[in-house]
Amino acid sequence: MKALSHASHPRLGIGCRVRKVENGDSILLLPEGIMRLKGTAAEIIRLCNGERTVADILRAMRALYPSSDLQRIEQEIGSFLNRLLERRAVDFQ
């Protein structure tokens, strides 16, 4: 079993790409799947470039949403990234 930590460098998985759709939303295209990226999902995925660590991503999101509860940001982003990892929509080093 492989899981993300604050020091991991997540990036988009092989064969996964983000595409804008007509209404301005983004979708994530996967092997045999599609995810509609709602709310902050697209921003989080954009930050997964293989260079930023999970800790960097959390910092960036906190800066974007300073009034949100820190613990909640951390928990929700962590669970979102792990869900993406389970589908191999993200990968990490």
Binding site: P31, L85, E86
Partner: protein, 250 residues
């Protein structure tokens, strides 16, 4: 898109018993129109399947056409007709994902069910695919009564090929598989044991390889959603584009 019904010679092929002849296959320009119209309607993915899509000489062109419309391209093959040159050409024109089937973990059994000595060749191809950067790879393990007891070693083989995804697909009882059903359908006990093997592998490989599983129709409480429900939002175009359980992704 079932671009051809030219063979795969499998006893568990889900293609109809009476296949469309080569002469009835849609020409390149008609597929181009199907892709264009689909993209306009909001289609995001094109899955090239068959038959064996590599039997078509224009497959690289078809993938290229779909890719130029920003469609996600997925190719489902047996692997026999693939070579390094063709693989490189497919990647160059934008193939996103390739799915190749394996019949067993052991060569003698795999070649026996395939009816041809192809297992070693498929292994070599999987090595090439894995080295190709940017191409997502699914290993499809076709399971039935005669190999389900070896699922553990089949998963080990698949794992060693370095895919992002493993699909454990019980034979789907349509076409030839329906004709051979009595011979292929696993026992309930076999199925039960295989579920435990899968669960264990899923846990062990979580975050490394995504494992999907397709239950055999006859052991499910309800008819399963095709492709785990993914098909609720997709449509199939079969050769003459006659049959379309309707989609669409809004």
């Amino acid at each position: 898109m079932e671009v051809t019904h030219r063979p795969r010679h499998c006893v568990y092929c889900s293609n109809p018993l009476e296949l469309k002849a080569r002469a009835e296959e849609l020409p390149t320009e008609t597929w181009a129109r199907v892709f264009e119209e689909g993209a306009e309607l909001g289609m995001f993915h094109v899955h090239f399947t068959g038959g064996e899509p590599l039997a078509r000489n224009d497959l690289v062109r078809l993938v290229s056409l779909a890719h130029s419309l920003r469609l996600y391209t997925n190719l489902i093959i047996s692997g026999i007709a693939l070579n390094e040159k063709k693989l490189t050409a497919l990647i160059e024109v934008g193939l996103d994902h390739l799915q190749m089937s394996f019949q067993d973990g052991e060569e003698r059994f795999a070649d026996w069910i395939a009816g041809a000595p192809v297992h070693a060749r498929k292994l070599a191809l999987a090595g090439l695919i894995c080295e190709s950067s940017g191409l997502a790879f699914t290993v499809n393990l076709v399971v039935h009564r005669h190999n389900l007891d070896r699922l553990d070693s089949m998963i080990s083989l698949a794992e060693s090929l370095g895919p992002q995804r493993i699909e454990i697909a019980n034979v789907q009882y349509y076409g030839w598989a329906l004709k051979n059903r009595e011979w292929l359908l696993p026992t309930r006990e076999q199925l039960k044991q295989s579920l435990a093997v899968i669960e264990q592998a899923q846990e062990r490989l979580q975050g490394q390889i995504k494992i999907d599983f397709v239950t055999p129709d006859y052991y499910a409480t309800f008819p399963k959603p095709w492709m785990a429900g993914w098909d609720a939002s997709s449509c199939s175009c079969i050769l003459r584009a006659a049959s379309c359980p309707v989609m669409l992704l809004q």
